[in-house]
Assembly symmetry: C2
Homo-oligomer: 191 residues x 2
């Protein structure tokens, strides 16, 4: 999506070789108008798929998931990292590893909020190795629900996580696909 | 707000004496339409106040903050609990304590995203002892910005946190004020 790519070029920066800093508009300060447009782009792709729920993971997926769910008129469910007090004990569970910190964590969703009648669109802000996406897919499938697809704002294609999911048959739609961050230069994949 | 109170009565439940479980619509599954209406209610209260940014704290404040910011046409900044890798080292810092878990944590915001020209509306999902709100007020004031007010979806008035802030001169606007949860019964304050 051109607006998102433009914003990444204008305000994104590269840290430590392959970390893309996008906290000015995506995951610390949030450009609500831009993420609403991202949501509309996914709505156009998935509007005929009978989506019943948007699934994401805390914290940085929540903003873009909510601003997408508005277009579909469906609820968001966000997975918790490790168990909070409020969500009970009857949980779907998976595991993921932070690309940035290298730490593993549990990913949990209450069984009350995803079920076998659901057609799920997974939404997240960033896709690197796809650890979070795989955990959300696992939880959806544990519930007997359908993974219709995944929408990701920024995919770092060179990590291979998105293409591994596509090779397993999942539909992954990224709005800005980054081919490389070599020498601090942000280079997008050719459309 | 009547829609929110109705939802709390229909779907909320009381745990462990004084914990209100609202994870079916507020902080695990999110009723996006309801929170959009909450945002509109605060917009009506604060629309003439020159709000430049909405400030909240991860994770459960992000949804309601984004769905409020849309009405104002301003960005959201969400404070991080403890420092993430992406947000740099030039940070405003405060501390808070989880009412539910009793654990303390750092609250941090990059100095890039709040400054002395800002007129801040703080938005959060729940207000008990006001530890998070106090941390967000501290950060706003460290930046030399103005705290125009705070909007909270559900205030547990019997914990006193909201009234302590009001007695200090802050404007705190809660959409559902809970007088007590005694014997598992949710009782609202009289309007």
């Amino acid at each position: 999506m051109e607006d998102l790519k433009k914003k990444i070029l204008e305000e994104g920066s590269v840290l430590c070789g392959d970390i893309l800093r996008v906290d000015g508009f995506l995951n610390h300060q949030i450009d609500v108008n831009l993420l609403t447009k991202c949501g509309l782009a996914w709505y156009e792709m998935f509007k005929n798929e009978g989506i019943t729920k948007i699934l994401t993971i805390e914290s940085s997926g929540i903003a873009v998931a909510c601003l997408t769910a508005q277009h579909f008129g469906v609820p968001v469910v966000y997975a918790r990292k490790n168990k909070g007090t409020y969500i009970g004990d009857d949980l779907y569970r998976s595991k993921a590893v932070s690309y940035t910190h290298g730490k593993g964590y549990d990913v949990v969703v209450s069984k009350e909020y995803v079920n076998s009648h659901d057609r799920i669109l997974i939404i997240d802000d960033l896709l690197s190795g796809a650890s979070d996406l795989k955990a959300l897919i696992s939880i959806t499938e544990q519930a007997g629900a359908i993974v219709v697809g995944a929408g990701v704002a920024v995919e770092k294609v060179f990590h291979g996580g998105g293409d591994r999911l596509r090779s397993l048959g999942y539909r992954v739609e990224s709005l800005a696909k980054i081919a490389s961050l070599d020498n601090g230069e942000i280079r997008f994949c050719e459309d």
